[in-house]
């Protein structure tokens, strides 16, 4: 136990503003906020798709609102920032060993980015086929 003569400063809730490293940490944690907005857009889209053609057209128009595009652009940047941080953590949390050797972390990060590119290519094919 701390002696009564000692001084023990309590961590205040603005602790993360005191160091640039902690601001970056909070930015990483906050990437989920624009993500939630995008997911909410998708749920609205699913609902309108169930409502019928007119409702679906309304949703497509809603998605064109400059404010909605701006927030989703933020979500896009947030998803890439999240990917950048998340891919670096992965080799540290689960170092993969192949033939008795740990895979170089950079190779694992690169492999994950290739996954992102592959999904982009897949999405291009899905949305552009038959147009």
């Amino acid at each position: 136990m701390a002696k009564p003569t000692s001084y023990f400063p309590e961590l205040k809730r603005d602790w993360w503003l005191k160091h640039s490293y902690f601001k970056k940490y909070m930015a990483r944690e906050a990437t989920v906020l624009p993500l939630v907005f995008f997911v909410a857009c998708l749920l609205a889209g699913l609902y309108s798709l169930l409502q019928g053609m007119e409702s679906w057209q309304g949703w497509l128009q809603f998605m064109q609102h400059p404010m909605v595009i701006a927030l989703n652009a933020l979500a896009f940047i947030a998803s890439l920032f999240h990917a950048w941080t998340f891919f670096q953590l992965f080799p540290r949390v689960m170092p993969l060993r192949v033939a008795g050797r740990t895979l170089p972390p950079n190779l694992m990060v690169l492999g994950q980015w290739l996954g992102v590119v592959a999904v982009m290519v897949l999405a291009t094919w899905i949305f552009l086929r038959g147009l």
Binding site: S6, L11, H19, L89
Partner: protein, 239 residues
């Protein structure tokens, strides 16, 4: 020699309850460490200044202080690295006894809780335990800890909840769990499985940034999460 002004956080419990900042002018060159600066202040300017130090070569781990809000070993960081003001304070998230001296009891209790030593009752290898270089490679990175406590001062989760076992203790637990000579994993897992074990960590990662021995405690703690998750799954299948 040029002169640099440094600010040191003073706390003298016998004179008053509030800490305060005091400025000192310290001559320095390229080889002047933060610890050298503190020694200069004590010897030449104010003999009442209290701080811990011993080896001055980053192995004893006793001269940790906050320099501009970042945990550092005084002997291992130099005045030449700081262009602007230099503010030296006691290590964060610990009770302060006097000036730059903290009470490390909490840290030592957390270390002891994970039984950071070889546990092996098999009787074999009673002279020496054999270990191959490949077996040693598995834990070697995590065995460089000098118990300086910088990672605890870098960890906001420890700052928010002092009950959190914290980076160094969890790293040592993982280090011994990975050791081929050790059989104590079963005894350590209940500590790691707790809310205040590995699960209070949110991978801020600052502990690994400040570690003077590049132990990467954040990686060890998060590998500990994988182990704890496996331990839970095994428990479910066994029951």
């Amino acid at each position: 020699m040029t002169i640099k002004q440094i600010s040191i956080q003073r706390y003298l419990p016998e004179q008053g309850s509030a800490p305060y900042w005091q400025e000192f002018d310290v001559p320095f060159d390229d080889s002047t460490s933060i610890l050298d600066a503190l020694n200069y202040v004590k010897e030449e300017l104010d003999g009442s200044l209290s701080y811990r130090w011993s080896c001055r070569m980053a192995i004893c781990g006793s001269c940790g202080v906050m320099v501009n809000n970042t945990p550092k070993l005084g002997c291992n960081s130099f005045l030449r690295e700081y262009q602007g003001p230099v503010k030296i304070a006691p290590l964060a998230h610990f009770p302060v006894e006097k000036d730059l001296i903290i009470d490390m009891t909490l840290f030592l209790d957390h270390l002891a809780a994970v039984q950071p030593y070889l546990i092996n009752d098999s009787g074999e290898g009673s002279d020496t335990f054999k270990q191959t270089p490949a077996q040693m490679e598995k834990y070697k990175q995590f065995s460089g800890c000098i118990n300086c406590g910088l990672c605890y001062s870098a960890c906001p989760q420890f700052g928010l909840n002092p009950e959190f076992l914290g980076p160094a203790a969890l790293t040592l637990a993982h280090r011994y769990n990975l050791d081929s000579r050790d059989q104590g994993k079963k005894q350590r897992m209940p500590q790691m499985n707790r809310e205040e074990g590995v699960w209070s960590c949110t991978f801020v990662g600052f502990c690994s940034e400040v570690c003077p021995k590049n132990v990467d405690p954040a990686a060890a703690v998060n590998q500990g999460k994988v182990e704890s998750a496996k331990d839970m799954l095994i428990g479910i299948f066994k029951s």
